[in-house]
Amino acid sequence: MANHQHSLSCYQNWMSQQRLDLEELLQGLTNFPTDPDYLRLLVKKNISHFEDYHAARAQLAKLNGPSFFAPAWGTTFENSSLWIGGCRPSLIIRLVYVLCGSHQTEHLAEFFEGVSRGDLGDISGAQLKSIDALHAKIVKDEDKLTSIFASLQERIADEPLALLAYKCRNVGESSQREVVDRAMDGHALDMYKILMEADRLRLDILKRMIDILTPLQAVEFLAASKKLQLSLHEWSKSRDVQMGITQLLSTNNPSSSGGAP
């Protein structure tokens, strides 16, 4: 229980941190769009916040890995799109493409006049090539982890849990409690391990994408992704409430915020 509370506040801290970061990113875009050094600094700061969050989460997940796969603090909508306890890395590609596209349609005329804005609409040929190569890598890595995850899930229906259940006289009886606990602990540990792998991949992909982008584009991209995550959370929360799912109402108050853990 205590662990759950910690996990919850870790999450809440992270969301508050992201709100602050978003603010800062947006201000950077407005006030210092031509200062690549400052923008680079912003990006670096953001990445280190990511790393902090992952580190904190790793500590907690070690104790209860499975709790991060459909967390109680996520909305039903959010949880339905989780991939191994977080966002699917390939979302990054979509997000870049859609941002690039929306800029480009807006500014196609300007483009022909030789106006360069340097934003995500100005993805160059070399960048597009790198993004496409990254896309190939992401799909490959994602599929690899997905496959490992699948094997992990399948193990539920195998030795020892399946046979322990089969041999029970009464459903859920606790005569074999120790064996059951040992098996479930082992499984939880495996879940923790793959969660770590997935988090590593998520961060790695994010860093690679940022390396491809210019500082301005990177800040724009980070701002957009935070906006998306935060907005989705709010939107889906109100949908949950409408449907009578109120578990999140109690976690509504981000009073425990105050910097990354």
Binding site: G101, Q104, A126, L128, K129, A136
Partner: protein, 415 residues
Amino acid sequence: MAEICCGVVSENEASSACESNSKATRRKRMDLRRVNFVPTIEKENGVKQARLSISPASFSRDCNNNCNTTELKPKLKRKPDDEGDEIEVDGAKPVPLVAAIFRPSGSAVFVDGEKVPKFGVASVCGRRRDMEDAVAIHPSFLTVENDRTSGVHYFGVYDGHGCSHVATRCKDRLHLLVKEELNKKLELTTEWAKTMERSFNRMDKEVVDWNKGTVGGNCRCELQAPESDAVGSTAVVAITTPDKIIVANCGDSRAVLCRNGKAVPLSSDHKPDRPDELNRIQAAGGRVIYWEGARVLGVLAMSRAIGDNYLKPYVICEPEVTITDRAGDDECLIIASDGLWDVVSNDTACGVARMCLKGKGPPASMKTPVENNEEPGSEKWDKACSDASMLLTKLALARRSSDNVSVVVIDLRKK
């Protein structure tokens, strides 16, 4: 919803559907996947498919280790140390084949002599998870010592469906087949149509035979025989000579000539609801069923393709060939997969390409991190054509193309 349907069209067109009357569940799964608009829904065990590889003669990356590729290209011997830019053909003196079609862009040229075409390529996976497009470019692809054949360049775009391996085979083989067929002739200028037909036919036969050969194979693309019968590819091939443009097309990729500011299509898409194609299919005893667009037997959203053995004789591999005399006011030729044409009209594409060729492309000053130290051979590229192909690709992505996008732009202006 209308919007979503627009976005979906290209995927649907690429192939297949979910008919219930035939074939294995596996193919059905594949079909479902293709009409699936939301790619983030993970299909079971993360189906892996091949991607465009870098070297011109090699098989695609993911199939590389597993598919038996050697048996059908005994004549190709890769030199040990090169990066795939050169191929030794049949023990003859090395013919510089260019080619290296990098993903997504690239257009390197090192052909001796002055008859070097200017072109640019962009080819990206886009919003799909699988890359099924392939591009082949072979400047001066005929035997070099033969005078009559200098200045003849080969450009091909192949858009695979079901898996990428038919498209990849086309990329590796079709130009060689065309070359063989051409070398049988004394006069290059005659019988282009026959030559292309024969080449496409042989290509189709190779693909079908090869599929048969993979029974019990270990190709990871999960479309082993007999399901591999359900794999195919479009092929649009443009051959430019000093005075002509020959376009052979099979499927729904397209070649468009930009002449004096106007778009002149040099190929006509093979759609099942094109009246003459519909008649041909029905005459052969087939049916066209509307299932998210017109589809042959409710499955394939094009009426001609290389491969797709299971839909014969309704789907045929015979190309339509156009021969166009080059004119002084020809600007460029655009060859692309339907990932572009689904969302960008011929006229818009020509407009964009023209602008780039006129030097209004992205400003050179706009340097990005990856641009500064990459692509040492970039001076060999044609910047304007590359910009054009890249911009068209970006435009397709911007307009929510949901398919792979491959674009080749060839500068036709007289120097």
